[in-house]
């Protein structure tokens, strides 16, 4: 389970062998400006090198340049040598085609879109083999199954006949790795290969990558924004910032003694230490305590069943019960499909439980089944829906607000930020407790205040969402959620789409606001480290059930359920690899 790579150092004679990749003075630019300012590094054969940087630092551009896949409106100059070949940048596309896949190959970030949805995965692997070897169709097919075996897919012969959508995310990524390895390339580039995967799956994929590369003596260029991953997978690290290599060296040295300030900042941002709320640590919550305030959120035996075509059902929630005290910072951890998003939708009154009760801020949303027609994309059929009165929902929603994962998709691109943030105030029910929000001018002042509180510039209200970076957009989301002073803030993976350094800032902001404004924070995340950093209580969800819950430090220090242990072991941390 531990993804730690084989830790044997590369044999000393490796330096005499041709390096897998040499990049010298690589410059990439558009006509308007230069994006990559003459970077240089090497990947020796059998060496695992991490290329680290935030979005926009140029790490993906570097990978595309090595693969010869740069966009047409970009120009590249400098030297790129793969396995002793002549400079790749000086070659025509036709010459590159013969090298691509044979000498260097790439594993992409999103395994669903990188595979052709209409072809069997075995055929896709075989195609790569046949492109570069003279062997026949049957031989390629056999080899494809061999490769699928090597990347650890169960029942490889059967899997080869599956379509991409029939495989899980981790399995698809294994297929992509098989394709990349098909022709024994000297260099394997992995561009954020695990960002789209669950934590426990990520650990296994990283293990696999390290294993296959070591077995073949190929060089691995591992691109990521996550230092913890680099520390686990790689031997050397190249730190890229704004198109410049600011630092490179052995992982142990760079991480132990970073020379450049940016590396130090990144390192500081990467290690999320637990940060306890002063409110809670002062008065520990216990259910037995009679004079304690009643919980602000209470779920009692809640189930949610989604009908599927053909009369089948999917149980997203299998009867969960939960209590969250006012002022608590509650973390809900789980992987995709665990039911954490369903829970969140139930809390916000955006979805209705099939059975059980949801109680938020004193409003009980009782279950009243009503049969009605529900139209899906394929059919119209009777379904069950829970109905709460409009007034009840209004009270829940005035007291509970949401922050979403995707910083771009959660803001209306056609509205100015001031209008986006001020929108909840337009609803009279939401501003019932805020006397100073009746006139337009007062509301505008409230928007200005909250934008300042989340650390956005003064002119932010007049601008459009696309003019802000991911972290700033997440601040806008937080401002919108807090503008009508809710008692509960539910944040759904608020930092998983953000860069490491920005991630820490947004978490810090959430914690500070929770203290200042005394709201209850419910943080939903797949990342145990993020939850541990911010929350004082944790519930771990798996397959629609809460498998463990309690105070953060107790769950973290001595997990009782085996799934929590697996999750903790798989969570990448900087401290795990010490040589």
């Amino acid at each position: 389970m531990t993804p730690a790579a084989p830790s044997s150092p590369p044999p000393p004679q490796i330096a005499e062998v041709t390096p897998a990749l040499v990049v010298r003075d690589l410059r990439i630019g558009t006509q308007a400006r230069e994006l990559l300012h003459g970077i240089g590094f090497e990947v020796l054969a059998g060496e695992r090198v991490g290329l680290i940087g935030e979005s926009g630092s140029g790490k993906t551009l570097t990978a595309l340049a090595v693969m010869g896949l740069l966009d047409d409106n970009l120009t590249a100059s400098g030297h790129v040598h793969v396995a002793g070949e002549r400079n790749l940048l000086a070659r025509s596309d036709l010459q590159l085609v013969r090298l691509r896949g044979a000498r260097m190959s790439m594993v992409f970030q999103e395994p669903m879109t990188a595979l052709d949805p209409l072809r069997r995965v075995g055929a896709q692997v075989a195609e790569v083999i046949r492109l570069h070897s003279a062997g026949g169709r049957a031989a390629a097919r056999l080899r494809a199954v061999e490769l699928l075996t090597e990347v650890g897919l169960p029942e490889p012969a059967l899997t080869a006949r599956a379509y991409p959508h029939q495989l899980s995310g981790g399995q698809r990524q294994r297929v992509l790795i098989a394709m990349a390895l098909a022709n024994d390339p000297a260099l394997l580039i992995a561009d954020e290969p695990t960002t789209a995967l669950d934590v426990t799956v990520q650990a296994r994929i990283l293990e696999l990558l390290a294993k296959v590369v070591a077995k073949r003596g190929a060089g691995l260029l591992f691109i990521t924004h996550d230092l913890a991953l680099v520390s686990q997978v790689c031997e050397r690290v190249v730190v890229l910032k704004d198109g410049v290599v600011v630092e490179q060296g052995a992982v142990a040295e760079v991480f132990a003694d970073p020379q450049h300030e940016y590396t130090r900042t990144l390192l500081a941002a990467s290690s999320l230490s637990p940060r306890l709320s002063p409110l809670i640590s002062a008065t520990p919550y216990s259910a037995q305590n009679a004079d304690h305030p009643p919980p602000i959120i209470r779920l009692t035996d809640v189930t949610r069943r989604y009908p599927r075509p053909g009369g089948r059902f999917v149980d997203a929630l299998k009867g969960i019960s939960l209590e969250i005290a006012p002022g608590e910072r509650f973390g809900l951890v789980g992987e995709s499909g665990s039911g954490k998003t369903t829970t969140l939708r139930l809390l916000a009154g955006l979805d209705m439980p099939t059975s059980g009760t949801v109680e938020v801020a004193g409003v009980t949303l009782a279950h009243t089944p009503v049969v009605e027609l529900v139209e899906t994309t394929t059919e119209t059929r009777p379904g069950q829906r829970f109905v709460a009165s409009a007034a009840e929902l209004a009270r829940v929603r005035a007291n509970l607000q949401l922050v979403f994962q995707d910083p771009m998709g959660s803001l209306n691109p056609r509205m100015r930020v001031g209008n986006i943030v001020g929108e909840p105030l337009l609803n009279p029910a939401n501003r019932a407790d805020i006397p100073e929000a009746t006139t337009r001018r007062e509301r505008r002042a409230l928007v200005r205040d909250i934008l300042t509180a989340v650390g956005l510039p003064n002119d932010a209200a007049r601008r459009y969402p696309h003019q802000f970076s991911g972290g700033q957009r997440q601040r806008i989301s937080i401002a919108r959620a807090l503008v009508c002073r809710p008692k509960v803030l539910v944040a759904d993976e608020p930092v998983s789409a953000l860069d490491v350094s920005v991630r820490a800032q947004v978490l810090e902001l959430l914690a500070r606001l929770a203290d200042e404004r005394e709201f209850t924070l419910v943080l939903v995340s797949h990342d145990l480290a993020v939850v541990r950093h911010l929350c004082d209580h944790i519930a771990v969800m798996r397959a629609g059930e809460i498998v463990e819950h309690g105070p953060t430090e107790q769950v973290w220090a001595s997990p009782k359920h085996e799934y929590t242990m697996a999750l903790k072991a798989a969570t990448p941390t900087m401290s795990k690899r010490r040589h």
């Binding site: 529900v374 995707d406 056609r414 009508c484 860069d499």
Partner: protein, 311 residues
């Protein structure tokens, strides 16, 4: 690719990491740091051409209300079937009427038909589409099946039926064309609405307990506006063509009112001998249709704040 490129500028704005070696890009002014834009701010060639062509038509229509070189209805202003000359730019038709004057006056009718037909279709079709997209289930299904029934009738057939029932005429024609275009608008609006309704910002608005009306007005409509503008421009072109076709068939504008379509029909028997009679209304129709299509495409891009240059 453009996404990757745009990030550095955005990141420079976040700029909360400790100060580091300044790469050359950081010293550029902020506007330049946003990265290359495929859509250059300012001149949009399609829009400019579209505006020029549409302005030409509108100007002809407006001027013809007050002045035309000759009375477009008066016969015998020149030798019948005479070709273009300095006194009669586009020549003379078989009744001795000035073709240039008739083209100018015909622009009025063309705009009138296009604007009214598209307005009818958009004003009825877009709300139907939005309602169907937001209220799935029975009401949405009923609305869409209803519009599917309408879609099964070709617009021209509908116009012919209307013409037979209520008498041929420009007004009948454009109402029929408008009604015939409702399903197209409803479909476009519905598919756009479905997409917008899946977005997180609608979820956020719902979580803020905004009414369906507010969500439709503030979130759905602005985000499908681009689709609708394009649909308007395409349908404007179609309406102009259909009016011409109906007039050509004798079901649209009644003589002697100047209509480009009717002029085209009247020129039919002189094709080969007096081509100018077909050429003038033909080119006029082409300019109108092309102009409105380009205008629609251009407007869609210009109205989208995401494609605008940063500040």
């Amino acid at each position: 690719m453009s996404q990757i490129i745009q990030q550095p500028g955005a990141k420079a704005a976040e700029g909360r990491t400790a100060s580091v070696v300044q790469p050359p890009s950081a010293r550029l002014p902020e506007a330049a740091a946003v990265g290359p834009k495929r859509y250059k701010p300012g001149i949009h060639p399609q829009l400019v051409i579209g505006v020029v062509l549409v302005t030409l038509i509108v100007a002809a229509a407006v001027v013809s209300m007050f002045w035309t070189p000759y009375d477009p209805l008066r016969a015998g202003v020149g030798e019948p079937l005479a070709g273009p000359s300095t006194t009669h730019w586009f020549g003379i038709d078989r009744f001795g009427r000035d073709v240039f004057s008739r083209i100018m006056a015909g622009a009025q009718l063309t705009l009138y038909v296009g604007v009214i037909a598209v307005s009818i279709a958009a004003v009825i079709g877009v709300p139907i589409g939005i309602i169907a997209g937001m209220r799935r289930g029975v009401p949405g299904a009923l609305l869409m099946r209803g519009s599917d029934v309408l879609l099964a009738f070709p617009g021209l057939l509908l116009a012919i039926i209307f013409g037979a029932a209520f008498g041929a005429g420009t007004t009948t024609a454009m109402i029929a064309l408008g009604i015939g275009a409702i399903p197209a608008f409803a479909r476009v609006a519905r598919s756009g609405t479905l997409q917008v309704m899946r977005s997180d910002y609608v979820l956020a608005a719902r979580a803020a307990n905004r009414s369906s009306w507010a969500i439709a007005w503030r979130h759905v409509l602005p985000n499908i506006a681009g689709l609708i503008v394009v649909q308007c421009s395409v349908n404007f072109g179609l309406a102009v063509l259909s009016e011409a076709a109906l007039s050509f068939l004798g079901l649209g504008t009644t003589p002697p009112a100047p209509s480009w379509g009717r002029m085209l029909q009247e020129s039919q028997q002189f094709l080969g001998s007096h081509d100018h009679l077909a050429l003038a209304p033909g080119i006029a129709i082409a300019i109108a249709v092309l102009g409105f299509n380009l205008l629609g495409d251009g407007l869609r891009d210009v109205l989208d704040p995401r494609l605008k240059g940063v500040r």
